[in-house]
């Protein structure tokens, strides 16, 4: 009497097929997770952009007025008159969004870079006490990791459409 041990070819093929199916399912799950992670990153705005958004929002909402009104989109600096008489200026310098604050006499009070990797900057004020701002900025790779600001291959940028209304309507009673 002989004993037959080992696996047949059919058994081996069945196992291979099962392993292949499991690997395919696993790969799909990993791919889906990576895409979801990327989408989450895009949906949940990056903290720097949230800070920029809140800073401009606060300046515009508490403003006494603008030094100049642009009815059509302008790339010029946005200058906001505060209620204390100082001037806050937003401008793009060497690919960075810079916020400067000047006293009523013109002396510099503060200057800081809010956002690097800025690819475009537009603003307008089509209605009194309303400011529209479009900021284009690099999302990937991080602006700190590249030397050129030119948008090219594998670079992803994003444009933020922002609209802010001044509280109090620049001296009025609206809120």
């Amino acid at each position: 009497m002989t004993s037959r041990q080992g696996t047949t070819l059919v058994e081996l093929l069945v196992v291979l097929a099962l392993v292949s199916i499991m690997m395919a399912a696993g790969a799909q799950l990993i791919t889906h997770s990576i895409r979801l992670l990327g989408a989450t990153g895009r949906a949940v705005r990056n903290p720097v952009m949230v800070h920029v958004n809140e800073r401009i929002r606060r300046d515009v909402q508490e403003a006494a007025g603008l030094t100049a009104v642009e009815l059509i989109w302008s790339e010029e600096p946005l200058e906001i008159r505060t209620r204390t008489g100082s001037i806050v200026r937003y401008s793009v310098i060497d690919g960075s969004l810079v916020r400067e604050e000047f006293s009523a006499t013109g002396g510099s009070l503060d200057e800081r870079v809010l956002l690097r990797g800025v690819t475009s900057w537009w603003w307008r004020s089509t209605a009194p006490a309303v400011v529209d701002i479009n900021i284009g900025h690099l999302v990937h790779p991080p602006p700190e990791s590249i030397s050129s600001q030119v948008v090219g291959y594998k670079q992803e940028r994003r444009i933020e459409n922002l609209r802010f209304a001044t509280r109090g309507g620049w001296g009025g009673q609206r809120w």
Binding site: R35, A39, T126, V130, I159, N161, R163, F164, R174
Partner: protein
């Protein structure tokens, strides 16, 4: 990808509602209940069509104070997604 699309769509709806609210506050849009078509004023980052509306109710206890609810909605993978913000607007 459905979860990713829902996340991106929700972010767009939040932005649309914020812009709509600032438009009402700033007087770009009249303070009245209406369906609002932004046209090219608002461009979503995801591939959705956003519908927005404003609901206005004057507070009975204080003249000039209005309760405003802005609503942004879109169909995302055959499901309706809605984002709304309710606040007060002072317009004496």
């Amino acid at each position: 990808m459905s979860a990713a699309r829902r996340l991106e769509a929700r972010a767009d709806l939040v932005r649309a509602a914020e812009i709509l609210l600032e438009s009402v506050r700033g007087g770009v849009l009249p303070l009245e209940t209406a369906e609002v078509d932004f046209g090219e004023e608002f461009q979503p980052l995801s591939h959705i069509t956003v519908k927005t509306s404003v609901e206005v109710a004057e507070r009975s206890d204080l003249s000039g104070l209005y309760q405003v609810r802005v609503v942004a909605r879109a169909m995302v993978r055959s499901q309706e997604m809605v984002v709304s913000i309710t606040t007060q607007v002072w317009r004496p």
